[in-house]
């Protein structure tokens, strides 16, 4: 690697202040600091520093997302094939290579657009402010594609990413300064701006919308609904499971044979690209918790909050959705993905130890409440987390105030 280092040394004078490419210094610095940990030394304070830095931290989160990504690619490929063959019950573990490659052709462009648009904007802001790329978007750029439905148009991904990076983050000052989670801002933007492309039963399988519009042959009775979509119908007069009308007294039974607990847990069901597999999410959680990057407090309390809300709904009972076993809520939709990768974002979550538990618990609790009780939103996880992002500073405020009061009390008793 000596030649690369020498080359960097040679190029550096052009990019520093006064050099001919001075303006492009942020770009140069980003690439240089990616390839080499820079030769910055301590000047004041401690003379040695921990090995850890933000690049390694963020890269670990990206690594933790890989299981979800790989599974998501395969799952997307599977449902694309199911659409092409008009068979919702297509065996899952056949033609695996073909499914993976098909999935790749759908997912890869989404990732490229997300990173492309996001990084370009980040660089532009970096150049205006004269700093190199800050690492936050490495994670956001991967999270955004994984929260998208498979059939999302690429321009929407680009638009949502641009919105999230500019409005969600850069106007607040960049990485570490944002109030709400970047990836969820992108998701929420599309959900409210283009609801027909982000919900319903035609968007979750790649190609379904097109095929229905142009060549509906073989799609008679084929449903592209997700588990959550079906469950939402339980709250209406006409309950359906995978497109078929069911009686309300059999609804839960039909539902759990269409989406068995194992299939839901493993993620072999339609849904957003990276969210379906609770198993893959848990693998990511394992990486986050072992390395200490993700807060175990938040993850556990989020699951606990969701589960307890599920139990409360069971106790309430009265219609098929309320009767759905509580554990089902944790393995369908984006619950696990949200709990593990979204709620744990350290910038937007609560920052105090106790605050994290309250924040996580309420997040999970609200996610299931919105999911079940608000018919307008089939999925409540992203809304609950965004809401809790806003509430996190208030939670922290009371924790900090408690600390201050302890100190004041000491003064009075002294």
């Amino acid at each position: 690697m000596k030649f690369l280092e020498k080359y960097l040394h040679k190029m550096e004078p052009h990019f520093i202040k006064g050099g001919k490419y001075e303006k492009w210094n942020p770009l140069f610095e980003t690439l240089a600091t990616f390839a080499f940990t820079p030769k910055i030394v301590t000047t004041k304070g401690t003379h040695i520093r921990d090995g850890v830095d933000l690049k390694r931290t963020m890269m670990t989160v990206v690594l933790a997302l890989i299981p979800c990504l790989i599974f998501g690619i395969y799952n997307t490929g599977h449902w694309e094939m199911a659409v092409q063959e008009g068979n919702r019950n297509l065996p899952y573990f056949t033609e695996m290579m073909a499914k993976f490659l098909t999935g790749l052709t759908i997912v890869l462009p989404v990732i490229v657009v997300s990173y492309g648009v996001g990084l370009t904007i980040e660089f532009m802001f970096g150049m205006i402010r004269g700093h190199s790329l800050h690492e936050g978007f490495l994670v956001s750029g991967m999270l955004i594609p994984l929260t998208m439905p498979a059939d999302v148009p690429l321009w929407m991904v680009g638009l949502a990413t641009a919105f999230a990076v500019i409005i969600g983050k850069e106007i607040f000052g960049g990485t570490g300064m944002n109030v709400v989670n970047i990836a969820l801002t992108a998701r929420a933007f599309l959900f409210f701006a283009y609801p027909t492309s982000m919900s319903g039963d035609k968007v979750w399988m790649s190609g379904l919308g097109d095929k229905m519009a142009t060549n509906p042959e073989g799609l008679d009775g084929f449903s592209g609904a997700t588990a959550l979509g079906d469950l939402a119908s339980f709250m209406s007069d006409k309950a359906t499971v995978a497109g078929e009308v069911v009686q309300s007294n059999e609804a839960v039974q039909n539902f759990s044979s269409e989406y068995t607990a194992w299939e839901s847990f493993a993620g072999m069901i339609p849904g957003s690209i990276g969210e379906t597999s609770t198993m893959a999410c848990l693998l990511g959680a394992l990486i986050l918790v072992i390395t200490g990057v993700g807060s175990l407090r938040i993850i556990l309390s989020f699951f606990a909050g969701g589960f307890i809300m599920g139990l409360l709904l069971n106790a309430l009972g009265g219609n098929p959705y309320l009767d759905l076993p509580a554990y089902y809520h944790l393995i369908i939709g984006g619950f696990a993905f949200g709990a593990i990768f979204m709620a744990t974002d350290p910038v937007t979550a609560s920052q105090t130890a106790l605050g994290k538990i309250i924040y996580g618990f309420l997040g999970g609790f609200l996610a299931i409440m919105i999911r079940v009780l608000n018919p307008a939103y089939p999925e409540g996880v992203f809304l609950a987390i965004l809401f809790m992002n806003i509430m996190a500073p208030i939670i922290d405020h009371y924790i900090v105030q408690a600390n201050i009061n302890r100190r004041l009390k000491r003064l009075k008793t002294a």
Binding site: E5, G45, V52, L54, T175, T291, N403, R407, L411
Partner: protein
């Protein structure tokens, strides 16, 4: 006696280069310096001028704001130069030694005959007060304030720190006299914190406390917080234990003993040892051909709170050790030794590196590279793991950065010194100079609230 207080939040950074327990005496030759810069916020008013002859214990300058606080010469000889830096600020008083170490003689009574005020004046006159620090603000104590307690730690838990059990082994009598004098000085208690089964637990005239656990357990700030924390409007004083012994020696002999024992440590020192030195000696005569390599950093003090020095500089007033570590001013390819490397060469409190898998006996050779660039705070919970105070470190640091005086007061700025945040600064993923921010916060408090 008292219960053992156990400190679990913290971190022992395991470095190569602990001092071997031998003592080498460094002879007094050449130039010795006293630097007003060692004392934060001090504006010196000179008493001597260039060409004056001084003995050990003669006053060189005093504190312009508090004229009773005096600073004395550690050697006998001639004042060679008063070095000034920017804005004519005095940076060093250089004294050419005559190597005789003739000392000014003080007339002393028996210790039991002294009043509190007399002890105070004696310490001020003989220059010992410069070592007395106060909290809040972590500056030289204001002798006109009433302090609710004096805190001394009998052990240092910082990386490669000297072992006072060894250093003060022969000075137990002086220590006892020193503590008796301090007991007369103080209306409040004199607190001495030690490790379990310490040799210092036999001392009288002090209130003993026992601490165990990880660094910063030996920091006096940690101990104050767990014994009797500082509230707004209160003052406590702190003193290094070697200074207590020196005060005792002074009261026994009537002359100021300017020698101290320090540890010569660090991975770049091939024969680590303890040194008996005179305060203000040059770094070069201290390290004296024991250094491997050329691109190294000399630190007056430990790696967490010490000052960067050049070979031609002088050891700082408060330093009890010299640490020499490699400079890290080189590019590190990201996959080998850089940010995405295996990381077995790094010491990290984060489990992103394999440090936590390695045996506790493994020691590390760390350099001065920051291992990353400065960013805004992102990661939460990491500072709290090494900060054994009931204080929220991130919130307090942010209050200091934003110059929010109300929040700083509420969050406990009066209790802390920059050194309490040294470990926070070490573990910080986003490489923020936390000690510096806290110091700026304290300066703001000093100018606005005190």
């Amino acid at each position: 006696m008292s219960n053992t207080i156990s400190i679990r939040k913290g971190l022992d950074i395991r470095l190569v280069g602990e001092a071997t327990k031998e003592i080498r005496e460094v002879s007094v030759t050449g130039i010795v310096a006293v630097s007003p810069l060692d004392f934060h916020g001090l504006i010196p008013k000179m008493v001597v001028k260039e060409g004056d002859t001084v003995s050990v214990g003669d006053i060189l300058f005093f504190d312009k704001k508090k004229e009773s606080i005096k600073f004395v010469s550690p050697v006998s000889g001639t004042v060679q130069q008063i070095v000034r830096g920017e804005k004519r600020r005095i940076t060093n008083i250089l004294i050419a030694t005559d190597s005789k170490q003739t000392a000014k003689k003080f007339d002393l009574k028996k210790i039991s005959e002294y009043s509190s005020e007399e002890i105070k004046n004696l310490l001020l006159e003989a220059g010992f007060w410069s070592s007395m620090k106060q909290r809040p603000l972590d500056i030289i104590a204001d002798p006109d304030n009433e302090a609710k307690g004096l805190f001394v730690s009998s052990f240092d838990s910082a990386p490669l720190a000297p072992d006072y059990d060894f250093v003060l082994n022969e000075d137990m009598e002086s220590l006892q006299v020193g503590f008796e004098a301090l007991n007369i000085l103080m209306d409040g208690k004199v607190h001495l914190s030690s490790k379990p089964n310490s040799v210092f637990s036999k001392l009288n005239a002090v209130t003993h406390h026992t601490f165990e656990g990880v660094h910063p357990v030996g920091n006096v700030g940690t101990q104050i917080h767990h014994i009797d924390p500082v509230n707004k409007g209160e003052f406590v004083w702190t003193l290094n234990i070697q200074e207590v012994a020196a005060i005792g020696k002074f009261l026994n002999t009537g002359t100021v003993d300017p020698t101290r024992k320090i540890a010569l440590t660090g991975s770049e020192v091939h024969t680590t040892t303890y040194l008996k030195i005179v305060k203000g000696t040059t770094i070069s005569s201290l390290v004296d051909n024991t250094i491997e390599g050329e691109n190294v950093r000399y630190i007056s003090g430990n790696v967490l709170t010490g000052d960067k020095k050049e070979l031609t500089d002088y050891i700082g007033h408060y330093a009890n050790q010299i640490t020499v570590i490699p400079e890290g001013d080189e590019y590190k390819f990201f996959l080998t030794t850089g940010w995405l490397g295996h990381g077995f060469d790094k010491f990290s409190n984060s489990r992103l590196f394999p440090t936590f898998l390695l045996p506790k006996s493994k020691k590390f050779r760390l350099d001065t590279n920051t291992n990353g660039e400065e960013r805004a705070f992102v990661v939460t919970g990491e500072l709290e793991r090494v900060f054994p105070f009931d204080i929220l470190p991130v919130q307090l640091t942010k209050a200091a950065i934003t110059e929010d005086i109300d929040s700083m007061e509420n969050l406990g700025i009066y209790e802390v010194a920059p050194e309490d945040f040294a470990l926070c600064e070490y573990v910080c993923t986003t490489k923020i100079n936390i000690q510096d921010k806290i110091r700026q916060g304290l300066d703001l408090i000093a100018s606005e609230c005190m």
